[in-house]
């Protein structure tokens, strides 16, 4: 599964994308984020306030409760500020 990070989330994690294989049982965005936070302090720091993080699964907006099973691309980012 490909993960993408944008804006300050990208900067805190230090990379824009990575390929991961979450362990069995990690089936939602929320679980994915919890698992990432256990990996390294930079993830813990990046995801410390999940209420200000948005998610897209395969380029469609989604919720933290959404399933990531079968997803090819999960993007995590702050609220958008374009326009």
């Amino acid at each position: 599964m490909k993960l993408l990070y944008f804006a300050w989330l990208r900067e805190r994690i230090g990379i824009g994308s990575e390929d991961v294989s979450p362990p069995e049982g990690v089936e939602t965005v929320a679980a994915l984020v919890d698992w990432l936070k256990t990996r390294e302090p930079r993830y813990e720091h990046a995801f410390e306030r999940t209420e200000s993080i948005r998610v897209a699964i395969d380029q469609e907006q989604a919720d933290f409760s959404a399933s990531i099973i079968g997803a090819r691309e999960v993007a995590l980012f702050p609220p958008v500020t374009g326009g």
Binding site: F6, A56, A75, G82, G83
Partner: protein, 146 residues
């Protein structure tokens, strides 16, 4: 294509004209041009999510076409570094009548501001900072949901 994400600047007059050139059923074209405001800001950088951005803008356009009788829609959003005074975003709507063109253009901007994956980073004398999302933008987008 009606939706473009690009580093290059654009020509507002040509974009407006393109929506009515060669046809006589367009009575109204409304355009919105967003610009980088200066003050403390010396530079702005626009980051986006390639692939999803275009998709999101096309969905926003499709939603506008469902809601209003539009003869044409153009959405252009720049990415990369931009100086104060530079154009960032352009939205134009063409319709037979003005009310539809006005409402649809405002809707497109409200939705773009809250649903299209762009992020702004500003450089000020205090350093470079990511711009916070504004609650007023969420409120502006929410008024179209009924």
């Amino acid at each position: 294509m009606a939706v473009r994400v690009q580093e290059a600047d654009f020509d507002t007059g040509a974009e407006i004209a393109a929506l009515s050139t060669g046809r006589d059923d367009v009575g109204a074209v409304v355009s919105f041009t967003g610009l980088v405001r200066g003050g403390d800001v010396s530079e702005m950088v626009l980051e986006h999510y390639p692939g999803m951005t275009e998709k999101a803008l096309e969905e926003i356009e499709a939603e506008a076409r469902v809601r209003w009788p539009l003869e044409g829609v153009t959405i252009i959003h720049r990415v990369g570094p931009l100086a104060p005074g530079a154009r960032i975003v352009f939205v134009a709507t063409a319709s037979r009548h003005r009310a539809a063109a006005f409402e649809a253009a405002e809707f497109l901007m409200d939705y773009l501001k809250t649903k299209a994956p762009f992020w702004k980073k500003e450089t000020t004398p205090d350093g470079a900072q990511w711009v916070d999302a504004r609650e007023t933008d969420d409120m502006a987008a929410a008024r179209w949901q009924s």
